[in-house]
Homo-oligomer: 409 residues x 2
Amino acid sequence: MKIAVMGCGTVGSGVVDIIDNKSDLMIRSANENIEVKYILDIRDFSDSPLASRIVKDIDVILNDDEIETVVETMGGVEPAFTFCKKCLEKGKNVVTSNKALVAAKAEELFDAARNNNAAFMFEAAVCGGIPVIRTLFSALSANNILSFAGILNGTTNFILTKMINEKMSFDTALKIAQDKGYAEKDPTADVEGLDAGRKTCILASIAYGHHVYPEEIHTEGIKAITLEDAAYAASKGYKIKLLGKADKRNDGKIGAIVCPFFVNETSMISGVNGVYNAISVKGDSVGDVLLYGQGAGKEATASAVVGDVMECARLKKNEKHYYWDKHEDGIIEDYMLYETALYIRGYAKNAKNSIINIREAFGGVSVLSREDAPENEIAFITSKATEKELRETLSELKDFAPASIIRIL
Amino acid sequence: MKIAVMGCGTVGSGVVDIIDNKSDLMIRSANENIEVKYILDIRDFSDSPLASRIVKDIDVILNDDEIETVVETMGGVEPAFTFCKKCLEKGKNVVTSNKALVAAKAEELFDAARNNNAAFMFEAAVCGGIPVIRTLFSALSANNILSFAGILNGTTNFILTKMINEKMSFDTALKIAQDKGYAEKDPTADVEGLDAGRKTCILASIAYGHHVYPEEIHTEGIKAITLEDAAYAASKGYKIKLLGKADKRNDGKIGAIVCPFFVNETSMISGVNGVYNAISVKGDSVGDVLLYGQGAGKEATASAVVGDVMECARLKKNEKHYYWDKHEDGIIEDYMLYETALYIRGYAKNAKNSIINIREAFGGVSVLSREDAPENEIAFITSKATEKELRETLSELKDFAPASIIRIL
């Protein structure tokens, strides 16, 4: 099978590398060799060993009937979307690692794929080398997915791990992440939870069958997390993790949220440290399944892309493709209606009195302690109720100023 | 798609249950309904709601062209093998949960499948609901698998967890496992490592491309593990786990072994407790991936079978099938040549002198201690060497009688 790779950056060059150098694996798994015929990139590759395959014009790829599958590793929504759609309309399979594209445009790309009997695959778009897309679409397809929760962003998990294990401040940990190349110069998409949000949308779309958009999901990052919070969490056997989480609600809607959680130290997911990712899925037949691995990185992500390319070679033209249905308005439940317990840290002039009032208002709370806490600091965990109820109760407390609120998984 | 289920025991009846009751999932994922037309079972089902679909004669299934896919959940090698082969020869896909069948007969069944353009699928045969077969065949197909290690048997992991966490003896823990239905009345296949051995063979066959037979792999169970060993392990931050393990050796051979290991408590796999299973895979591109979940149980296993059935419906007739190549003599390296460190516990008349001799013989060891150890007990961990060298050194020690030897992961 001959393919083209659009975008020869980190992941794209990794894809070319694997396909050029592992023809034994291609033949063993796909029963034929795979060859990168074109590499589309606007940059200058004239001194590169790849030069002879570089093209600047998408039409070269579109008009070559030998090209059965096109890899998109450009990133961003445009021109990736336009290029992918054109490829699908020509009946070429598209394999992408681009989560922004999938989160924003999968509905239209699924349509183009089905109408033209082509495959649209994106295992690499969520958590790099972890096979979560295949698992949800195929291995667990006999299950109603009751819920999932995942550490979907390695950068923030690296920062939180440093804060928890080495008592490093957020700013220092972020600086190290940037120095190591785990975080961008502008870390907004990671630390504000936007990246985890896109992945949560993609997983929720597969699990619940309708396209979910990032704007619909309440998203919080980790910038507000302090070492004080980490210490209080540890005092009760919790670790703080940024999770993307979704479940099917009793009213048929989808519950979905991206935010930091207190996670019990006895759970598998609490043991996921550094840049590693993990997704825990609960199916109605299979019970709990957890997938763990490197969620990013050139080689891990490229290997997931090539896995999809090999699947395209193996399956050829008449499989029924995976997809999800169109978006439905109002399918996401307001997160204020989810039941949760909350960790709340704050300050009071008279802590003793304030704790009495807090206990009474919430009908009992679990008060936390940490070393060297100032006298006016109070931290506690409520019992479970809707977040709306808990926040209303909190807002009525006159002598307590909350500084940090984190949900309990 | 119309299917038949051969063997209506625990898993088979679970398969019928899911397919009868989840037609919404079938249609969403496979784009068509799936219907169980026949159930082959020699037992009396005349009072069962399934009675109208029960048949006693395999020929009814073989001769019905409507039946595209046949599920085999009878267990054992015969008559399962004969029936599956006949189905494949009729061009019907076969989906099985039967690891004994796959470990013993996959070579012949792959041949029959390919020659008749049918699929032979067995996700449920290794670790029930954990999608390890798909992951190795497909998601990680762009990787050379450097190694894998797995907790592949829930019964023994349950027993070891009880021994480690509750200081329960092997016999007491086994009794509880039997009472809970996790262990058979005759627990040999589990506690002697034979079940884990079959699964290790199947995984090694996928990872390294040639059929590996259980008889080729050195296999030890957990009957010799004592609470003393668990205490010594804990003293150095290890847990004892029964692992099936394989790697690609420098000489091109496969290293494979099934036995208890000391596993570092900081590793993800050491956190796998009770009847849960997990497999950790290292690929040359993807790095470490870990899959975790219920390795057995009616519903989890049945859901994996149905996932394969839905894949058969989705893919229809022209995909290229997954398989591995024929067995090759001498492809498994003698386990005595693997490099490992060993934990050794034993007894000496004069422990002080013996430790001096042990240190000298092994060129330095790490001596372990535990509470209430008798004075004549010695336990230590050697540095790494081939097992052959270490055992030769051990056999030359005149004043020390070894009682327990466990490898370090």
